[in-house]
Subunit: 505 residues, 2 copies
């Protein structure tokens, strides 16, 4: 009887979460449709629809009824008879519930409103190239997020405001972990950049008409096992201004963007988004719409896209396979004779001002700068008005470039202006995680690079599926890394870059 009661409690809690998760999947569709299909005049209605799903999700997760069910199940004498997965589900729902309850609804809606105001000011500021236009609104948004962090600190058991924000995206990864990691990786990256930076354009014949680029993208997606065609398709490939992946489980859609002057842009976008998509699709079916059926963290998600885009997609082995496809597609214009130049081109190291144009080595420094600035904003006493000058200093120090235009400076990324503070570090963590996985894969899938050259990535894809994707959110990211036999360190990333650059330059 008490055990039966435990099962009923568990089912009730999971059912409530299922609705929450289904609403998230509806949100994904609303977003995807808005970016790809929606007629422009539909934008206002779409806003209402999206705020409704958000409101309903919030209502579910902070409901007193859910709180009581959680209290009851956690106090149940047989709680420990639940499986590990079930206990983890309860733990994750409990986390979400406590955090939702800790934040007054009024603050949530103030933040939402301030995000809308700030991002629209950002658009104007970016057009004018003048940070001052958005300074005040960004300041308010930061103030509201400080308030949010203060409220979350206890629940998240962290000791600084910034840590509470990072924890939203990367659970249980704190500045205490990141500080030494980023400091070491930063130092080593700067040495690498000094050694390998080049002003040379190794390969410039990157024009390709959009139809052929699409063919290339489809080939690459198929190669990765992304199913966008036929009766068993679980994905589709459309066009949007900025590439993204949307959806989960058996409906995961990616978008790309074609630049007629540079086929590698769509190619790497497709590789990147398919990396995300495989993760979202490979989550275990028996966990669908439960917390453990979610991806582990933003950083782990990014590790999957970067594994496919960079470790696979910028490797000599992949290009030795791809070149015959390109040869056919371009009627011999891009052929194996130019392979060495292409490889140098897609791995070229060059300091710059724009994060989205950065290579694998300089990219880390772009993130470290943002991390430093965010930390100072929330844990230090950096003022919003000082952002452009601090940005300038940091870029001069880390990347030796002179930023004089806010457009190419503090206004370049949307993240802060939509209130996504603490998000940036997950990008570099993704790079680091991906190379930690690479070291394990090198041990456990010996010979995979030779297979890649022959056109098969199957063993690596299966490894990622079994060891990362199928783990869902069963573990927090650092535990997951530990469980695959990895250790969080800067070393694998630096080693990976050094090995590659040594062979190429």
């Amino acid at each position: 009887m008490p055990i039966e009661n435990l099962r009923q409690l568990y089912q009730k809690i999971i059912e409530r979460y299922r609705d929450f998760s289904l609403l998230t999947s509806i949100e994904s569709l609303l977003f995807w449709d808005q970016q790809t299909m929606m007629p422009p005049a539909g934008v206002e209605i779409r806003g209402l629809q999206r705020s409704l799903t958000e409101r309903f999700k919030h209502r579910i997760i902070r409901s007193r009824e859910l709180g009581n069910l959680l209290k009851e199940i956690l106090a149940h004498p047989d709680f420990s008879s639940l499986t590990q997965v079930e206990q983890r589900n309860i733990e994750l729902i409990q986390r979400m519930h406590r955090e939702a309850v800790a934040v007054p609804e009024k603050l949530i809606s103030e933040i939402k409103r301030q995000e809308t105001t700030t991002v629209s000011k950002w658009l104007i500021a970016k057009k004018r190239g003048d940070f001052k236009v958005v300074e005040k609104e960004l300041g308010r948004l930061i103030e509201l997020n400080r308030e949010l962090s203060r409220l979350l600190m206890d629940e998240k058991e962290v000791s600084t405001l910034y840590d509470a924000l990072i924890d939203i995206y990367e659970p249980k990864v704190s500045t205490e972990v990141i500080d030494p990691l980023f400091s070491q990786v930063g130092g080593r990256l700067r040495m690498l950049i000094d050694r390998y930076e080049s002003e040379e354009n190794f390969f410039t014949s990157k024009e390709m008409d959009v139809e052929r680029q699409r063919e290339l993208v489809l080939k690459v997606a198929s190669f990765l096992g992304y199913r966008f065609d036929g009766e068993s398709a679980w994905g589709r490939i459309d066009i949007s201004e900025h590439p993204f992946t949307s959806g989960k489980y058996n409906d995961v859609r990616v978008t790309v963007h074609y630049r007629p002057g540079d086929f590698t842009y769509a190619l790497f976008s497709a590789l990147h988004e398919c990396g995300h998509a495989l993760y979202d699709h490979n989550l275990p079916e028996e966990w669908f719409f439960t917390p453990v059926g979610e991806p582990c963290s933003y950083g782990i998600h990014e590790s999957q896209s970067r594994f496919v885009e960079n470790i696979v997609g910028r490797s000599p082995e992949f290009w030795r396979y791809l070149i015959s496809i390109l040869d056919k597609l371009t009627n011999g214009k891009v052929n194996s004779d130019v392979l060495p130049e292409i490889l140098r081109e897609v791995n070229r190291v060059r300091r710059g001002k724009i994060r989205l144009e950065a290579d694998e080595a300089t990219y880390g420094l772009h993130i470290i700068i943002r991390y430093n600035v965010e930390k100072e904003l929330f844990n230090g006493d950096l003022k919003v008005s000082e952002l452009p000058s601090v940005w300038e200093e940091q870029y001069s120090e880390y990347l030796d470039v002179e930023v004089s235009d806010d457009r190419e400076g503090v206004l370049q990324d949307i993240h802060w202006y939509i209130g996504a503070f603490g998000y940036f570090p997950t990008y570099l963590l993704g790079n680091l995680y991906s190379t930690i996985m690479l070291q394990v894969i090198n041990r456990e899938c010996k010979g995979w690079r030779n297979e890649l050259e022959e056109g098969s990535l199957i063993r690596v894809l299966n490894w990622l599926k079994n060891n990362i994707h199928q783990m869902g959110k069963l573990y927090d990211p650092l535990v997951l890394i530990q469980r695959i036999g990895g250790k969080v360190s800067h070393q694998p990333y630096i080693q990976y870059l050094e090995d590659k650059y040594k062979g190429l330059f």
Copy 2:
């Protein structure tokens, strides 16, 4: 103070309805996406998403809280100080609430489940051409719908089971109204058919490649003012197995289907769906997401699609305008020399077994048969097992055709197998309404046919917008017809057909 309280009550009720209505708009997107874009493997998740929105809608509308708010506002001493529109909103929400409360949730979910079972059996039955395969499941579905009608009869203040079902689609239109109307229209249609039926194929060169058909569809949509292109677009045109219209207000999407052997199929589909779409788009902006901001009824909706498809789209004037477009599109293959033949072809009268292939004259008889059968099923003592034989008798009597295969008989339409009983009569009512409107338009927009020939329908479109679309659901259908100066009768429809046929044959 009491007035202030009245306003607050009103706002609270409207806010709850707004969520209901937004969920409906999300449902539309889920449906549209499923028919046009969704990867096949997503079907299960889509089912869960759609049942969630349905569940949430049901929860809103039958909530005790809403019931109390309604009770309070209706008992408020100043209720009559609300505007007509506001009072109508309360009346409509009250209707929905009372009906929702009258039906136990258990019955609703039983019906849903039985619909799913029945429609999947129907697919098998249709493949095999054997009604017996689905007979038992259809019987259960009818039984459950009888139970539903019994529960709704009081709320709807109707005196028969079938009337309760009709009222779901066509509020306040009862068998008492329909019986004499359909009987008269049926008799007159049979006389018309006797006079004008023809076995001749007047025009057979209807092949057109899909690209050109698409061009034609876009031209016609533009002509009607359906905006699918550019920054102010509020619609889009995609392809689906069966053409449909989806959405409301500033996001109304239509689909068409191209038959390479017959360009008139896509043409008339586009005209039909654009007729629906204009209605859904032209609902008054200040009423968005309130009950009066909905279309009036299924029959009135159908009158709009049929007005555009038939009254406009099959008129000599429209074709005299269209022929120069077709001439260019087909490099002279379809030109003004064949205009008389085309006009006879698209208005040809011929008895047949299939509703969806029927012309304007025989179509009414197909509906009358279904109406008779539904009425006997719910108000008489017709047994499900007798359906095929009754169908055969009716088709023999009304249309003089011999139905020997259930596929072309009682299995041809999906409606009953998804539990849509009482829906069919709205199709013929739509035809009748549309010609009642035509008579008013003939008086109020004198010369419109000449303008149409010159390529402008603007005065008629504005009339429909101002007199029908902008009225939303402010009036029930028969009141709306009265208010535009019309009278529900078979006469306008018969007159319209006679006038047209006399000129053509």
